[in-house]
């Protein structure tokens, strides 16, 4: 499914998002680079405060007005950060779309599902992104919602969380966007429903070649769905690579620690290793590597110099002074 040779659909270059006072900014995203190929599924992993949601909102430009954004976000060659709000609105939903974390509150409680799906469809038709053949029922069928005719007449509160997330996904993909961003799309759902939603995302990619960015703290979701993974810590990218490679041979100590902190089952015993300490305050980051204070292998250099990118193989990189030595 990957078109490695085609130009990337999304390039993020040196993206920085800062909040708070100028003198002591909190950089929720600091100098981040990434590329995304058409039809690729990219997983972004990180704990709360790692900046993964801020990154999504920076791409689709829905950050609060107090955020200061620097760098470049190129979608299909266009610098999104330079577009007017009006031009951006033309892209949202039709070319770049998004599914939010909380399906329970992401639908307007006062209108029927049919009304809200129709509203999106009308807008897509107006933009020439869709035609009369695409109907609300068809959209709901496509996301495997049971009894779609009935659902159209129902209100959001009459649907379960899983059903609502399907409806939202249907609305987000009404016009076959080329990039779909999913911010913690399964966090609020039960395990059995989570898998169904993840499968739906894969189906959308396979059918329409939509590139997908899925942001989650659930490592197993990323492992099973995405082609490539980015691990973020304190606003920085710490490791990037093909999913299988990163999960089997993580090279950044944070990635390793994160994987180790999941319960490991060996025979009859279950073990897990906790990471000591806690996530640093973004406004008071120490010099050097942000993870140094919690890192089991940190050396003196880690506390003085920001680690630079270390190429570790085909499309696998890590920001750690020891990435090529330790294992």
């Amino acid at each position: 499914m990957h078109r490695e040779t085609s130009p990337p659909i999304l390039t993020v270059k040196d993206l920085t998002v800062a909040f708070g006072p100028m003198e002591r900014p909190a950089r929720a995203v600091a100098g981040l680079n990434l590329t995304l190929q058409p039809g690729e599924i990219l997983g972004i992993a990180g704990e709360s405060g790692s900046g993964k949601s801020t990154l999504c909102n920076a791409i689709i430009r829905t950050l609060p007005r107090s955020a200061r954004v620097g760098g470049e976000v190129r979608y299909d060659g266009r610098q999104l950060l330079a577009l007017s709000e009006r031009e951006m609105r033309g892209l949202r939903g039709s070319e770049i779309s998004m599914v939010l974390q909380n399906p329970m509150t992401s639908l307007d409680p006062l209108f029927t599902i049919g009304n809200q799906v129709d509203e999106v469809l009308r807008e897509r038709r107006r933009q020439g992104q869709s035609n009369d053949q695409v109907t609300a029922i068809g959209l709901l069928r496509r996301v495997h919602l049971t009894a779609p005719e009935l659902r159209l007449r129902q209100y959001p509160h009459q649907l379960s969380g899983g059903m609502r997330q399907r409806v939202l996904t249907a609305m987000a993909t009404a016009a076959t966007p080329r990039l779909l961003i999913a911010d913690e799309p399964t966090t609020a759902l039960d395990a059995s429903i989570q898998d169904e939603i993840l499968l739906l995302f894969r189906e959308i990619r396979d059918r329409a070649g939509t590139a997908i960015i899925i942001v989650t703290h659930d490592l197993s979701a990323i492992r099973r769905l995405s082609d490539r993974i980015i691990v973020m810590y304190a606003g920085r990218l710490v490791e990037e690579g093909p999913t299988a490679t990163v999960f089997s041979a993580p090279r950044h100590p944070y990635t390793r620690a994160l994987l180790d902190s999941l319960p490991q089952v060996e025979g009859d015993t279950v073990t897990l290793k906790a990471i000591p300490g806690q996530v640093p305050n973004l406004a008071e980051l120490p010099h050097g590597c942000a993870f140094a204070d919690r890192c089991p292998v940190a050396i003196a250099r880690c506390r003085t110099e920001d680690p630079t990118e270390m190429q570790l193989g085909l499309r696998h990189r890590a920001f750690c002074w020891l990435a090529d030595t330790a294992s």
């Binding site: 829905t62 939010l100 639908l107 307007d108 006062l110 209108f111 807008e123 933009q127 609305m171 987000a172």
Partner: protein, 304 residues
Amino acid sequence: MGPFILKRIGQTLITLLLLTILIFTLARLTGDPTPLVMPSEATDADRTFFREQYGLDRPLHEQYLVFLRNILSGDFGVSFRYREPAMNLVLAAIGPTLQLAGLSMLLAIIIGVPLGIAAALRQGSWFAAIVRGYAGLGQAMPSFWVGLMLIMLLSITLPIFPSSGYGGVANFVLPCVTLAFFASASVTLLTWANMTEAMRSDFVQMERVLGIPNRLIVLKHALRNASLPIVTYLGLQFGLLLGGAVVTERVFAWPGVGQLVVEAILNRDFPVVQASVLLTAVLFMTVNLCVDLLYAVLDPRVSA
């Protein structure tokens, strides 16, 4: 929808019943009305006759039941002053009051809702600061003073509008503006607060990332959601307007319930006071009941 409304109606009836007890107690607190009503030269026999006629010699709970039976049949007694059934006096006065309150309400909504929406969309701007100032003033200025200032400016210094009276269109201007100024302040702030909250909700964020035009997001989704608490509040606001009307009517010599009740209190005309208070309460509670009905229609979650 059924159980919700039935419950509300039940609550309203109980509340009304309690209110009649309250009014009855208040009426008894004032003591024996006999000396007030009877001329000073009346004989003791006359006084006893009066007490017996009005049942004042019976135990309190019996008096209350009589009172309740009478008001249920619309009999609040005869005005001590006008020698007319109190009920008729109130019914005659309620029309002008409703006209005044209703028109002011309309005006307040026409001014307040758009101001509130616009301020919510321009948080932190100069425009929002000005709206805030307007609303702050409107809340702090007592309506009788606004009325007096308007009279001073627009009927004494510049004689444009009549300062008092009822009948012509011009008569409506000053009282309506007075009341609407006060009411529009709260409507503005309420719309502002609820629009701000609605604009922050997840579904608005979702509509944004779906590229839905701003106009639709604001006017269809955010406003409809914000309107639920606004509608509830407008019911209460109507009560405040009725209250404000009492004072405003006094300023502009408007022949409404407010004027009637103040005169009645000054003249210790208790049947009229009781009739005015109870009928206003019924009116107010009916309005709020209708608002709740409307709420159930607006919010599909209530009917489920």
